[in-house]
Amino acid sequence: MKPILLENLYLKVNKNNLDQKLRYNDGGNVHMDFHGATNTTIEFIINKYGIDTMNDIFKKVGNHVYKDIKDHIKKGNIKMLAKHWQHFFDRENADYNISINDEEIILTVNRCTAYEHVRKLVGNVSPNFCDQTIKTNEALAEDTPYEIKTEILGEAACRQTIRKRT
C-alpha cells in the first residue's frame, strides 16, 4: 500500500488563510525582557506558595484573560487560537509552523524565542517555565469540546495540538 504523507493531510497556515479578528491584537515594538520577569515570577511563586498556586494563576490567565479565545473554542472555532499563535509567535520572531486540517491544529515550535531570551538573560531557565504554556492551554480547553496537548520536545521546542475530545 502506498504510504500517505502527513503533509498531504494538513494545510500549512500562513498569513492569508487565517481570517480571524483577535481580541488582543498588539502591534508596535516587542519587549522581550518581560519573559525574564515571567521567569522570576514563576520561581518566586513556586518557592513561596507551591506549584499548585502557580498553576492556579495560569488557569486564571487561560480562563479570564483569554476568555475570548476560550469562547471561540467552545463554539467550535479553533482557528482563533491558531491566529493567536501565529500573531504572537511572528511578533516574537520564533521558528514555528502551524498545520491545520478538519480535525485538529498543530503548532510546532522549533525555536521558542521567549525561552532563549530568558536563557540569555539569566542562564538557568526555570524548570517550570513552560508550565505557562501547558497550564494556560489546559485552562483554555477546560469545559470545551476540545483538548489541547502540549508536548515539550526539548529545550525551547514544543508541539501544541488542539483537537476534539474523543
Binding site: 498588539d26 520577569a37 494563576i57 486564571k60
Partner: protein
C-alpha cells in the same frame, strides 16, 4: 507561551493573588521584581547617575511603546507618562484589573533609586488613568519639596509615604 505583549495581564493576575495574601506578600514580590530589574539598571544608574536613568527609560519608551516625555537637567530626571501601555492593557482586559495595579511601579523602581542614592518622587495622579509623573532628584531636600505637589504620592517597601 504567554506573549511578552500580554505580560502585564499575567502580572495583574499575580498581583490579585498576592493582594489577597496581604500587603507584605505584595511587597516581597515587588522587591523580587526589583532585584530582577537590577540586572538591567543598577550598574548603569551607579555609573552614569541621572544620565544612565535617562538612557534606560528612553530605551523603555521605545521598546514598550510608551507615550512618554523625558526631560533631563542637572538636578533631576522627569518622566511624564502620557499614556502608560502597561495599565492601558490591564484596563483593556477580559480579566478584572487589580485596583492598585500602578503601585507596583514605585514598588520596584523605588528600591533601586534608593540603592544608587537618588530620590524618587512618584505621582500616580489617579490609579484609574494610564498616566503618571516620575521625578528623580540628586538632592533629597528638593525631592521632599516636590512631594508636596503630588496628587497621589506613591511609596515603596521600606519607604512608605
Amino acid at each position: 507561551m504567554i506573549p511578552s505583549d500580554h505580560f502585564t495581564r499575567f502580572y495583574n493576575e499575580v498581583f490579585k493573588f498576592l493582594e489577597d495574601q496581604g500587603e507584605e506578600h505584595l511587597e516581597a514580590y515587588w522587591l523580587e521584581i526589583s532585584k530582577n530589574q537590577e540586572k538591567h539598571t543598577l550598574e548603569l544608574f551607579k555609573e552614569k547617575g541621572l544620565k544612565g536613568m535617562y538612557e534606560y527609560w528612553d530605551h523603555i519608551r521605545i521598546e514598550e511603546n510608551c507615550d512618554m516625555d523625558l526631560k533631563l537637567d542637572d538636578e533631576k530626571l522627569e518622566l511624564r507618562m502620557n499614556v502608560c501601555p502597561s495599565l492601558s492593557k490591564v484596563l483593556d482586559n477580559d480579566a478584572e484589573p487589580m485596583k492598585r495595579y500602578c503601585d507596583h511601579c514605585a514598588g520596584w523602581i523605588g528600591p533601586i533609586i534608593d540603592k544608587v542614592d537618588h530620590h524618587l518622587v512618584y505621582d500616580v495622579i489617579d490609579r484609574n488613568k494610564p498616566q503618571c509623573v516620575v521625578k528623580i532628584f540628586k538632592d533629597k531636600e528638593k525631592a521632599i519639596e516636590e512631594e508636596k505637589n503630588a496628587k497621589l504620592l506613591m511609596g515603596w517597601p521600606n519607604n512608605k509615604k
